[in-house]
């Protein structure tokens, strides 16, 4: 079962998250694979799409050469108190210019969504035991921000003095 928020709505899609390298999947499935498994995939051998998910300590340089072709990158939150994924997201968006879907997976809950969206996540795989409908409200917790991040590249202090 998916518990997905995308484009401000609860939705489903075809991607299947493969957590472990031992897990099996079909050549026709669209799969999100552990980074190491994804690097080893032979695209010619399968008809479905493949995308990587990153652990919070992932080395982004491995992805850089292929970022432009990637339809999706997922970043894992092993615990919602682990904030490393926020920095990875900004690096992918702001430094490496990644344009595709950025999906938060793992311990993802309502109270993180406002911040996740601001650093560049576009899709949120809400933890299975939490209602995604209710979590949607988390995207609306704040109507503005002080800092310059992905969703608002101009810091508030500049917008203030430009008025």
């Amino acid at each position: 079962m998916q518990n997905l928020i995308k484009n401000d709505a609860v939705t489903e899609d075809a991607w299947r998250l493969i957590r472990s390298e031992d897990e099996s999947y079909d050549a026709a499935e669209d799969v999100i694979l552990p980074l190491a498994a994804w690097l080893a995939v032979d695209p010619a051998a399968r008809s479905g799409q493949a995308a990587p998910w990153l652990a919070p300590d992932a080395d982004l340089s491995l992805l850089r050469p292929v970022l432009a072709q990637l339809p999706l990158i997922a970043i894992d939150f092993p615990a919602f108190t682990d904030g490393r994924g926020y920095s990875l997201a900004r690096l992918l968006r702001e430094r490496y210019g990644y344009q595709g879907e950025l999906r938060a997976i793992g311990d993802v809950q309502r109270d993180q969504l406002a911040y996740l969206a601001r650093v560049g996540f576009t899709v949120f795989a809400i933890r299975d035991d939490r209602p995604a409908e209710a979590a949607l409200d988390g995207l609306r917790d704040f109507s503005d921000q002080y800092q310059a991040t992905v969703l608002q590249p101009e810091p508030l202090f500049k917008r203030r003095t430009q008025r």
């Binding site: 809950q109 917790d141 800092q147 202090f157």
Partner: protein
Amino acid sequence: MYKYDEVDHRLVRERVEQFRDQTRRYLAGELSEDEFRPLRLMNGLYVQRHAPMLRVAIPYGHLSSTQLRKLSHIARTYDRGYGHLTTRQNIQFNWPALERVPDILAELAEVEMHAIQTSGNCVRNTTTDAFAGVAADEYLDGRAYCEIIRQWSTLHPEFAYLPRKFKIAVSGSADDRAATQVHDIGLHVVKNDAGEVGFKVIVGGGLGRTPLVGKTIREFLPTRHLLTYLDAVLRVYNRFGRRDNKYKARIKILVQAMTPEAFAAKVEDEWAHLKDGPATLRDEDVAHYASFFTDPAYEQLAANPEAFTVPLVSDAAFAKWVARNTRSHKQTGYRSVVLSLKKTGVPPGDITAEQMDAAADWADRFGFGELRVAHEQNLILPDVKESDLYEVWQLARQHGFATPNVGLLTDIICCPGGDFCSLANARSIPVAEAIQLKFDNLDYLFDLGDIDCNFSGCMNACGHHHIGNIGILGVDKNGEEWYQITLGGSQGNHTAIGKVIGPSFAQADVPLAFEKIMNLYVEQRLAGERFIETVRRIGLEPFKERVYAKSH
């Protein structure tokens, strides 16, 4: 003082509503204890020994009289009629009911206050010199930058879930009064050879279990690069700081593990990508924030009016108070007044609702409606005319605010200790009181002169015992409360971590140990030598011998 605009107001109100909903979900069982904890901590709410404790932010220690009256209202309405000023220039309420905290926050929002990030693993309240803007020795009034940092750190989407708490201090004067060397980041204003003003960036200082003096990773950072550089430091810490062990998660451990040079290089690499980006401060941006911190309408006054000098000569008690509890001001004819919250028998830093109301009235009547909280846990009236000092002193005396002990041994910096805090190993308040009683002879106390005495009830070091000239640490020995004494610590430009003098003491023996230490100092000091200078000159050994000598 900074005034909220519509966006500041809106964001704080939205945070109140977010927290109201989080509290509702917790009480309804939709959020577990473990899930609610980080959320409530990020809003300053602890669950303590007796009740929740709410820590309210006082950004860089600045308060208006209106805000202080609101705090007194909250103390009366939601608490037991008092609050506790902390070493981070904040205020804590020890008895609020969990269900009513959202209402307290809504009341605070009305006067441009909040509890955002007063706890939790995020960027905490930025602190600075309590005399910023009125001190005579200032290079730069750092308050505009403090507000810029406050806004940058508030609800920062990238840095809300750091490995551990993160504390920033700013010092704008030659003489560092903000303890910048024992913060995660210390920003000390400096001038370069070209006369430009910038920040010396000190990283990885801190107290707690592993007390360390910070390392300078950049000698000169032009002020316009402040935020991009902070982003770079925080990003390196957020990505590479340890998350497997809470006691090794502070940035100081990362800096130590990488070496300061390698850490600095990593920050420079990160900064190379952020430098000159959108968060670079332009002159007009800084001017906008500085416009809130202009001088009030000072009168042009002559120094030493008769209304001041006459009682100074005729009233020795007033003269003592002026000597200890007032401070020179950049504006002739004015002084800053420190209202001491270190009266014997009252927990250091505690302030009653009546005292808050009284101080707010004096701020309006004698000053410009502003007050400051010092990290030494006292309250300050920054701008008082010399001609008003005699009256202010009399009023302060009536309200238990005029103990003339600022900077003296009994002006103890102290955490709430085991009476309130569930982390503490030992009580601090009764021991602080016993020390204050031992040294209640004012002439003797004055003769001992400047001594920073800092007291923590456990190794988390909220009372900053490591940087006290004389420090006390409460320790647990088989379920009993014992106290370790350290000597030689100091803050400021010569920051040093104190050293333990030997085995710890039972509660009843602490005042006697203090007396022996002070006696030795009086015997050994050279003319005009302060306590810390004697300790540095003669070392710890003579003190050890004296304190632990067998009585005969």
